[in-house]
Amino acid sequence: MGLPFTVSCEHYGVQTTVPEKRSIENNLTRVDKVFQNLVTLGAFFSMVVLAAIGGFLLYRGFEIFKDFGFSFITGSKWDIGNPEDTSTAILGIGAMLVGSIITAIIAVLLSVPFAVATALLIEFYVPGWIKTILVSILDLVAALPSVVFGIWGYAVLLPLVEDWSVTIEHYLGWIPIFNVPSGIFGRSPFLAGLLLSLMIVPIITSVAREVYSQAPRDLIDAASALGGTRWGALRAVVLPFGRSGLVGGTMLGLGRALGETVAVYLTLNLVFEINFKILASAGGNVASLIATKFGEATEYELKALMASGLVLFLVTLLVNFGATMIVNKSRKIV
């Protein structure tokens, strides 16, 4: 409620002294100091855990890195040799690492188009009440245990994919990655990747949805007012706006796909040989290797598993760091 005129004090000969600015003190009470310090301490628990995971895996697997050096990562042979004599062992996770990456990339390639479509459908096509239902369904699927995905993939998806693989090989076998010289299909990187893609669609969708929902509303309305079509607005405004967020979400999905164990264990045949033929029943996966070998591992092999765990940890951590940074950045734009 502003006054309609201004009063100038000097006209009336009144002298005013401007009071000195009062300094505001914000001394915390002792209770609050204790409270803040305790909370800060507790908040660093996550850092302690992350550091401890890296530290302990390095400590337990250090001997392996010392014995094999870089060839532990590049080598593809996994042979314990004479269990009594550790110097006869040749251990390398090269094939497993490459296999993990191939499977995860297949999963990401298969899931991104569907995730984008689902996110666009939820944000821009369906009315509010359907949106609520669809979001609930996606959240539920994201919470489904990987062992349930695994058992379904083994029992239902495996026979189907085996049939499709035969057909694909028949028509597209001249492309090297679809060629299967062994003639054995089944538990292939393609199957594992397909199953993983079903698991990561909800993850990518939820990030994409969040980013798309922040697309500038006025630009979308402007596109509508100018008589543009819905797809025109999506392509000109929403998709470019959400690109970096989508990349971040995709990397989150990639991280999940790289670290997934049980679903891959049940649907992928581990072979210690680098294999780019994605339809053949031979692949590699670090997480699955750990689960497979853990049961009857010798002490030395166990150390090698710890070392592979460390490699997996570092790779996924790197991917997640990148993903988190990209997603956070795209959030900040708004």
Partner: protein, 349 residues
């Protein structure tokens, strides 16, 4: 005498709402695609439900394009895009539906009157399905999840309080670390607990399993709690401060009670996230066939029950695995419903 003028404020419409004509055209295209799909399904090698869907899925956008051909290239592109988006969404929900249906069908075969109350103490996995049950697995899962909740929920909420309430210097870092922690592969968490708890205490135990689960649970709890704490209005906090309350008092008597149901949601979401974790438990709590409440020994759990039954290859054992999967799915569903109930309660506030 006064004159009242009634004006009708225009009801805001969503842009690009389909007109009735477009709706009819779409419907026609769907019906036509389904009919042609069925025909192709009968004649060619694209057999079964998936073949029908595949044929219809490719035909639908084509028919939509033809139906709108008169209206110009832009409209045709728009309609094709809508059709493709719809088809892609349906394509991705079919496998998810299949998972639910398959687990329900195959899982119910393993059920018998005392399936939920018997354990596998005197029953080999390959035995007839009327013997044995999953009581031991349910008890084990429950115990480990409870312990994991007790460990991780306080730390998760504290991390959230630090980010939202204390707003310390490291708030950004902590949020970043929590997000990074949510990406730790479950098997790595298992390996870590194996290399510490299991090796120090000389064997598999329920404690070790619970610790592994709590590591996986913490990020979910922390992130959800953070979102929930942000919902508390600043007015409440400043009012409390104006009344002379310390920050600690404000947090414990004003902020937390206001969003208690939201924090419970966070905990339940965390539980739903870890109740089906398999990989870390292989390395930490192992498996045991009898009902046990001793946390110092190996203990059964639903995921491992499924996993180990599946590994045997025996027909009855596989049926048991499906039964376990059904119970696990039911548990996840139950926890999920709980979160919906609690979070709807907080929205009403």
């Amino acid at each position: 005498m006064s004159i009242t003028v009634e004006t009708m404020a225009p009801v805001p419409t969503r842009p690009w709402r389909n007109s009735r004509a477009t709706g009819m055209r779409n419907l026609g295209a769907i019906v036509l695609a389904a009919i042609c799909g069925a025909a192709i399904n009968q004649v060619t090698g694209l057999s079964g439900f998936l073949g029908l869907f595949l044929a219809a899925a490719f035909l639908f956008p084509v028919f939509v394009a033809v139906a709108n051909a008169k209206r110009g290239a832009n409209v045709v592109t728009d309609r094709i895009a809508s059709a493709v988006i719809a088809v892609a969404f349906i394509a991705v929900t079919i496998p998810w539906l299949s998972i639910f249906i398959t687990v329900f069908q195959k899982g119910s075969e393993a059920f018998h009157s005392s399936y939920l109350t018997d354990d596998m103490r005197i029953t080999p996995s390959g035995d007839d399905l009327q013997y044995g049950g999953i009581a031991h697995a349910m008890v084990g899962t429950l115990l480990m999840v409870i312990v994991a909740t007790i460990i991780s929920v306080p730390f998760g909420i504290i991390a959230a309080i630090y980010i939202v309430e204390v707003k310390g210097r490291f708030a950004g870092l902590i949020r970043f670390l929590v997000q990074a922690m949510s990406g730790v592969p479950s098997i790595v968490a298992g390996l870590f607990v194996y290399s510490t708890v299991v090796i120090f205490f000389g064997g598999f135990s329920a404690w070790a399993g619970a610790v592994a689960l709590s590591i996986l649970m913490l990020p979910t709890v922390a992130r959800t709690s953070e979102e929930v704490l942000k919902l508390v209005s600043v007015d409440l906090r400043t009012s409390s401060a104006a009344l002379g309350a310390t920050q600690a008092r404000t947090v414990f008597t004003v902020v937390i009670p206001t969003v208690a149901s939201g924090l419970i949601t966070a905990a339940v979401l965390g539980v739903a996230r870890v109740v089906g974790e398999t990989a870390p438990l292989i390395l930490t709590s192992s498996y045991f066939v009898a009902t046990s409440t001793n946390l110092n020994d190996p203990i059964a759990s639903l995921p491992i029950y499924i996993f180990s039954s599946l590994g045997l290859g025996d027909q009855n054992a596989t049926a048991r695995a499906w039964g376990g999967a059904l119970v696990l799915l039911g548990l996840v569903f139950f926890f999920f419903l709980l979160t919906r109930i609690f979070s709807s309660r907080i929205k009403r506030k």
